[in-house]
């Protein structure tokens, strides 16, 4: 059945099994270690927060997980399967989807088509089916379309479906990023600062949306600068600083962690409050 009805019952508490393991990953850009021996795991059904000051390596961590960069050392495993040798599109099809911190939509395509591109991962028909409009092709196309519309409604931009991505407002573009990633039917949804540039009310609404996403059975990895926000929505938090993991644990514990406070105080007092 549909996974985006807002009335679907919660998928339950995190089961505690590891879905994705980042195992002693190091990534160097020339001399700089953007990630330095980082290890953590994401458990099935949880919302994991990934935080840290600017340049800590959060986005780089996403890039390693989704195959954009290959780690210099260590490996990432998804449900026990190493991702090192996989192509990017195969990783997506395995069940990891992401959004981009600096919005990267297909600008000349409509919002609906953007989401349908993501949805095509579930479709297997090729050229000949398209050429002869076989029943199977039409069925899959209709299903991709139906689900795309549903997802646009879910993130709250259903009315914008036929508009070009480039013409959407900034906030709607961020929402479209989420819908497009969800369309790939992921098990793990990685959101890179999805609320960047939002005002507090918008941020609050987005966090509710993220909770709703989790309740439908997605596991969520969330990068977010706003500490208060992360505390409110996540089950566990991993903190990076200068490419190293400096803390990991439930929000209450992270809040009082001296290393974390120091890291944030060193950067920006507001964020640590």
């Amino acid at each position: 059945m549909s996974t985006v009805d807002s009335t679907v019952e919660p998928a339950g508490e995190p089961t505690g099994r590891a879905m994705l393991e980042v195992d002693h990953v190091t990534l160097r850009f020339g001399g700089v270690a953007a990630l330095d021996d980082v290890s953590f795991e994401i458990r099935e059904g949880e919302i994991l927060g990934l935080i840290g000051p600017n340049g800590a390596g959060k986005t780089t961590c996403f890039n390693v997980m989704t195959g954009v960069y290959k780690p210099t050392r260590g490996e990432v495993r998804f449900r026990g399967q190493p991702l090192t040798r996989m192509k990017r599109f195969q990783i997506t099809r395995l069940g990891i989807a992401r959004t981009f911190q600096n919005i990267r939509l297909f600008k000349t395509m409509t919002a609906l088509d953007n989401v349908m591109v993501g949805g095509d991962t579930n479709s297997s028909v090729g050229l000949l089916n398209a050429l002869f409009r076989t029943p199977r092709q039409r069925r899959e196309e209709a299903e991709t379309h139906r689900r795309a519309v549903e997802l646009l409604d879910f993130v709250g931009i259903g009315r914008r479906a036929e508009e070009l991505a480039a013409n959407l407002s900034y906030g709607d573009q961020r929402r479209l990023e989420i819908a497009r990633a969800m369309a790939t039917n992921p098990k793990l949804l990685c959101l890179d600062e999805p609320a960047a540039g939002f005002n507090p009310a918008e941020k609050q609404r987005l966090m509710e949306l993220i909770r709703k996403v989790r309740d439908q059975g997605f596991t969520v990895l969330l990068i977010e600068h706003d500490m208060r926000l992360v505390m409110g929505v996540t089950d566990r938090i991993v903190v990076l600083e200068f490419g190293r993991k400096i803390a990991e644990g439930p929000p209450a514990q992270i809040r009082d962690d001296p290393a974390v406070i120091a890291a944030y105080l060193g950067v920006d007092e507001d964020d640590a409050s």
Partner: protein, 377 residues
């Protein structure tokens, strides 16, 4: 009820006014088939055989449809498309007369298969790299094909191949042409086209054949573009890395676009060989590739109707103004420059470019309605 200015769920344009659209299309199709018989004033080229010009136009339209898949849809700059065109023509000639006696119609599938294969062989190593590199490699490819043919006795060398086979003639009926005299239309009984006889004088049947192939390719183009294949091409063109992260195997789709483009290029080459009698390497110069790309860019890359119009014009205009002798090329150049200045997106830019403009206007008046929507969600 709803305020009239507030659009509900936007309906695709194709759903509106459908019967009228179908009738309009049917009339257009009949008109296109009848065009060489009508001898319309002004439109008909005064200094060259109009049916012959139309035949060339149709093969160029075919080329533009194929090249549009590569350039317009997948965003791959191919500057050696003439290579595929040449391969198509040569396969037909080689199998039909030079080294075999295949009937013309059987050479077409062979021509298309060989061209497609060459497209895959060229694309597999080069499509992994991006942008300019591809343009240069394809440019080289076009020249290599021409020079290989020129230096190979097996392929007829510089003289080329004579007596390229023609499609089978079936004489069913005669169609008279029209004649315009002092503003009145007469049926010209002395000038009849034998349907369907593929001879050396009357190019009308060749035009009909080429036009029919254009329609078939056009339908295939519509069907493929509006499927997930078309979406994957568009996404790849827009942002290859993101497309890949969204689960699109971009390399495969680029190769597919390349192979499809080669398919159509080879097909148009084989179609053009039918009426040519003989083919020779130097008719497949780089300049021909440039004209092909010009047709696509002038028309509006990514819009199939635009590139077809562009292709028709790049053939038609120089022929129409043949009377101006050398000046016609100058005129053509000036026309190109004017176009580049005033319509940089091409004559008919893709739907989205136009839609973007229209939306910008709509957006402002919609803004009020949106705020209400936002509060609700």
């Amino acid at each position: 009820m709803r305020r009239p200015g507030l659009p509900a769920i936007p309906m695709p344009d194709a759903m509106r006014g459908k019967p009228a659209k179908i009738v309009g299309l049917a009339v257009l199709v009949v008109f296109l088939y009848a065009l060489p018989l009508l001898d319309l004033p002004i439109l008909t080229t005064p200094d060259s055989d109009f049916a012959g010009v139309l035949y060339t136009m149709a093969t160029y339209v075919l080329v533009a449809l194929g090249l549009n898949i590569v350039i317009g849809y997948a965003g791959l700059l191919d500057l050696g498309y003439v290579g595929f065109y040449a391969i198509g023509a040569y396969v037909t000639a080689v199998l039909g007369v030079q080294h075999g006696h295949w009937p013309y119609l059987l050479t077409i599938p062979a021509a298309v298969a060989v061209t497609m294969l060459s497209g895959v062989i060229l694309g597999a190593p080069t499509l992994r790299v991006r942008g300019d590199y591809l343009a240069i490699v394809t440019l080289g490819f076009g020249e290599i094909i021409r020079l290989s043919a020129k230096n190979s006795d097996w392929l007829g060398g510089a003289r080329g191949i004579q007596n390229v086979p023609k499609p089978p003639s079936i004489h069913l009926f005669d169609v008279p042409h029209l004649k315009w005299e002092n503003g009145t239309v007469l049926v010209d009984v002395t000038n009849k086209t034998q349907a369907f006889v593929f001879g050396f004088v009357d190019y009308v049947p060749y035009y009909w054949m080429a036009l029919t192939v254009v329609f078939i390719v056009l339908i295939a183009d519509v069907l493929i573009k509006s499927s997930r294949v078309g979406r994957a091409w568009e996404a790849t063109r827009e942002d290859e890395d993101v497309a890949e992260v969204m689960g699109v195997p971009t390399f495969r789709y680029k190769l597919l676009a390349f192979a499809m483009g080669a398919f159509v290029g080879g097909l148009s080459g084989a179609i053009s060989a039918a009426g040519a009698n003989f083919i020779y390497p130097d008719s497949y110069q780089i300049t021909v590739s440039v004209i092909f790309v010009a047709a696509v860019v002038i028309g509006g890359q990514g819009n199939r109707w635009g590139v077809m119009l562009g292709a028709a014009l790049v053939v038609y205009l120089p022929e129409r103004f043949r009377g101006l002798e050398e000046y016609r090329i100058l005129m053509f150049g000036i026309a190109l420059m004017l176009l580049a200045t005033f319509r940089p997106q091409g004559l008919l830019p893709p739907r989205v470019t136009r839609r973007a403009k229209a939306l910008e206007r709509d957006l402002e008046e919609l803004e009020t309605g949106d705020e209400a929507q936002e509060v609700r969600s």
